[in-house]
């Protein structure tokens, strides 16, 4: 089976950015998919399932992050995470 990949950019809407509770929820959501999910701000890309690494990206409201996933559920993972952090 070929490896599926998905990628998209999204502007973070939450006024807390990816800090505190939103960071924890983001990491938890990323862990639910059968895919290797990464999130990047600028040059730096980290494992999206790690709350600590997501925190260290210091993502604020209005920042654009890049979501990248590979694995059977790559597309679903990217769509779900984009929905979670993006504008409603």
């Amino acid at each position: 089976m070929r490896t599926l990949t998905a990628e998209r950019e999204v502007e973070v809407a939450d006024e807390l950015g990816l800090h505190a509770r939103p960071a924890a929820e983001f990491a938890k959501a990323a862990a639910r998919f059968s895919a290797d999910v990464r999130v990047a701000k600028g040059e730096r890309e980290v494992d999206a399932t790690s709350v600590l690494l997501v925190l260290t990206l210091d993502v604020r409201q209005g920042d654009v992050v890049r979501l990248r996933a590979s694995g059977p559920e790559a597309t679903a993972a990217v769509e779900e995470l984009a929905r979670l952090v993006g504008s409603p």
């Binding site: 807390l16 938890k28 399932t49 600590l52 260290t56 604020r60």
Partner: protein
């Protein structure tokens, strides 16, 4: 005998046996581990158990505490944290050692971001790695200090959880290597009347458990293995202090406070609730000069209702009676005092961010509820209300009109705090808009000297005897003239020598922690207003804090 210097945090002297509280010390297993796969599995199990415990604790917690516990649980489950510990375990490190090292790396990375919010997560990471390492090492869980005999408590720093059960009859003194005059340990020590010196560098390397330690917070000094002579001195002065306070306290109860030449000075108490007021009244408090209302907001999922706020105010009015004023400060949330129902955006400089009245302008409904509670209870006794962190006259006008719109009658005095230097400079224009101003010396000093009050390395800059601070207060008093009265509700008011200088500048109300009241009242009664004025005139012209301190201390000495 060895002496170490620190910052005087809570007045008094004490001598006793060192109780060295080292919550982080236990035997982390050393040597090579035999089975890396087993070690990785043990670590995963330990972190899962820590996460589950934190979940349980979070479930029974509310507000800010709950958020912290939730965050710690999420970090305990973080795959990156586990992955960071794995290589060391593969190289046959003990799992406990590996997780402590991995946690430390993450904590440092968070601290290095320069973002206050992220840096504040570093202790969370260290804490939960410590919990996991303890479990792996078969060590008992972290427990707060528990004194079973009279002692001097020696620690790196104390957390709120550490200080809950402190027994002042056993803990005779406190010395910590961290902390500043305004940090948690200092505030708790003053509240309990325990002499304390904080910010003592090298403390834990110098003091052995069971050593004899003397604390002299008058000069911010601790003495390890003191000579017989020093032991006798400290014992005598500790005893003399106790006797003197009892005598002052007995004398304090009677009548109002006036200077020797008959000038009335109101000596009031800073309180958070009924219990603190009861204690302050026993010390001779003549009023409440600062009701901190933040306790109503902290650790809550939703803001307090008008009825809850009225219940607090009613309880205080009942104790105060019909003649003693209750001065309510509207919520001073923001900076170090965050509440869960108002999620704050991480700010680069929270002390310079949206706090005090700035937050009230973002959430005027919260302020209105509080003001309606003041209006609803103002018939019970003399009442005043003031807003914190005001920086412009426009904010003052906004606050006053908000008070009137909330139905606060004209019998209630309206005022603002002067803590932002801009307000001191505008005092003449401010005075006609209000009935009073109250100077918050902690923040005023912090902002005048641009020195974070929680920064241990900057405590020398946080000195209310700095002549610049007195000049600012002089400006406020001159601007106020006879148009509005001027009070002080900062820490400095509880220092009798400083209080006399403030009176000399024209301050007519001093509000402080209850325990400081008897001594300040005695100092005021022994001196004339004229004498204070002369000293204050010299103090504002002085070029440094030491000179001001010497002038103020001369005032105290002369009366003895």
């Amino acid at each position: 005998m060895r002496t170490l210097r620190g910052v005087a945090a809570s007045p008094g002297t004490a001598i006793g046996t060192a109780y060295v509280y080292r919550p982080d010390v236990y035997d982390v297993p050393t040597g090579e581990a035999t089975d890396p796969d087993k070690g990785i599995a043990q670590l995963a199990a330990a972190l899962d158990a820590v996460a589950a415990d934190l979940d349980d604790a979070a479930a029974s917690a509310t507000g800010a505490a709950r958020d912290i516990l939730d965050a710690q649980a999420a970090i305990a489950r973080d795959p990156a944290l586990r992955a960071a510990a794995e290589p060391a375990i593969r190289h046959r490190a003990q799992p406990a050692r590996a997780i402590l090292d991995a946690g430390e790396r993450f904590a440092r990375e968070l601290e290095a971001t320069g973002n206050d919010y992220l840096a504040a997560r570093a202790p969370d990471v260290r804490h939960l790695c410590d919990l996991a390492a303890r479990a792996l090492a078969g060590a008992p869980p972290r427990t707060p200090p528990h004194a079973i005999a009279p002692c001097i408590l020696i620690a790196d720093d104390l957390t709120p959880a550490d200080t809950i059960g402190l027994d002042p009859t056993l803990v005779r003194g406190i010395a910590t290597s961290g902390g500043t005059r305004t940090s948690h340990t200092s505030v708790i020590a003053r509240g309990l009347g325990i002499p304390a010196v904080v910010g003592v560098r090298g403390l834990l390397d110098s003091v052995e458990h069971g050593a004899t330690v003397g604390i002299d917070s008058r000069i911010g000094q601790i003495v390890i293995d003191p000579s017989t002579e020093i032991v006798e001195q400290l014992t005598a002065s500790g005893e003399a202090e106790r006797v003197r306070h009892e005598r002052l306290r007995a004398a304090s109860g009677a009548g109002p406070t006036t200077t020797a030449d008959g000038c009335r000075i109101e000596v009031a108490a800073n309180v958070r609730g009924v219990e603190e007021l009861r204690a302050a009244l026993a010390e001779g408090a003549e009023a409440v000069g600062l009701l901190r209302t933040e306790l109503l907001y902290i650790d809550r999922d939703r803001p307090p209702t008008q009825a809850e706020q009225e219940a607090l105010l009613r309880g205080l009015h009942e104790l105060l009676g019909r003649d003693r004023r209750l001065l309510v400060r509207t919520f001073d949330i923001g900076a170090d005092k965050q509440v869960p129902f108002l999620p704050a955006r991480p700010e680069r400089n929270p002390e310079l961010g949206v706090r005090g009245i700035r937050l009230a302008r973002v959430h005027p409904d919260l302020l209105d509820t509080q003001l309606r509670a003041v209006a609803g209870t103002s018939s019970l006794g003399p009442t005043a209300v003031m807003a914190p962190m005001v920086a412009t006259l426009e904010e003052v006008r906004w606050f006053v009109s908000r008070c009137r719109d909330a139905g606060i009658p004209s019998t209630v005095e309206l005022g603002v705090m002067v803590e932002v230097p801009a307000m001191a400079l505008m005092a003449a224009e401010l005075a006609p808009l209000v009935d009073f101003v109250s100077i918050g010396t902690n923040d005023l000093t912090q902002y005048l000297c641009a020195a974070d009050r929680r920064h241990a390395g900057l405590s020398a800059l946080h000195d209310a005897f700095n002549p610049a601070v007195l000049r600012a207060i002089d400006l406020v008093c001159r601007g106020a003239g006879d148009t509005c009265w001027v009070g002080v509700c900062g820490e400095a008011a509880s220092d009798p020598a400083w209080a006399l200088l403030a009176i000399g500048l024209g301050v007519s109300e001093l509000s402080m922690q209850g325990v400081a009241i008897p001594e300040v009242r005695a100092a005021i009664r022994a001196i004339t207003r004229e004498h204070c004025r002369d000293a204050a005139r010299d103090a504002v012209l002085a070029s440094d804090a030491d000179t001001v301190r010497a002038i103020a201390q001369r005032l105290i000495k002369e009366q003895q």
